[in-house]
């Protein structure tokens, strides 16, 4: 059985991400909420964190030896808000894998719970704007 626990502490490249106003607008529109050029929805914290972490969903799939059709799903998501996101702002992000835990459940079968955390700061500021902690569930076949 493969074990991915050694990934804990793995740091993603990190970097910066500019929250484009058009993307912020489209996000609200795709969520059937009232788009506003002057305000970014706080639900965008997930995207800002993921992009700023310097990692794509496919990158994480690769890290966990999974593919797009492996049935990967979200497990848990926590956001700690210390400020609000702004369209047009550039964010500096630091990200790392917090934990990878092999688990099993009666319904879910064997799976890996992959948890990573991203700290997001507006560029030029020492203050954290949001901290996002994500857990994704990677289904595994017995013996995989």
């Amino acid at each position: 059985m493969s074990d991915y626990a050694h990934l804990a502490g793995h740091r993603f490249p990190g970097g910066t991400y500019t929250l484009a106003p058009w993307l912020s607008w489209l996000w609200s529109d795709a969520c059937k909420l009232e788009p506003d050029w002057g305000t970014a929805h706080q639900g965008l914290a997930y995207l800002v964190a993921l992009r700023g972490a310097g990692v794509s969903i496919q990158d994480i799939f690769d890290l966990m030896d999974a593919t797009a059709d492996s049935g990967v799903v979200f497990g848990e998501f926590q956001v700690d808000y210390h400020g609000v996101l702004r369209p047009g702002a550039t964010y500096k992000c630091e990200a790392e894998v917090v934990d990878v835990e092999r688990k099993s459940g009666r319904r879910a079968g064997v799976f890996d719970k992959f948890t990573f955390q991203v700290k997001v700061r507006e560029q030029g500021s020492e203050d954290v704007t949001v901290v996002c902690t994500n857990s994704w569930i990677f289904p595994r076949a017995e013996g995989e």
């Binding site: 529109d29 969520c31 993921l50 969903i57 059709d69 926590q78």
Partner: protein
Amino acid sequence: MATREIQVGQQLEPFVIESVDPEPMKTMAAILQDPNPIHFDPASTVALGLGDKTVNQGPTNVTWLTEFVQRFAGGAEQLVTLRIRFLGNVLAGDRFECTGMVTAVDADAGTAELEVGATSDGRPALGGRAVIKISD
């Protein structure tokens, strides 16, 4: 400092999407650069045994729950923490509803804790807790 009158047991005004639209899932897949076809190709959900409806993206569901909490809180700047568990898929055509209740109030800290959740066609979709500021 003004503090809002919030009481333990108080119910939040529900937030409802009457029918989850599959079309915006395509926009969201592009925004997220999410290659998982369950969000835009019904053939893939059939192949995975999930039925013939596409699956709404988790970040969209999170955004709806966030919107629900911040409407009660009085704005985005009132959010402190939102912790969400993903309990089930939200499918195209589902009725998505967020509900919640105040579970604790800390007047000294100027915060309140909420138990929140969402159902999709009556099935559990999200569960979680939130902390909001109740002081200006």
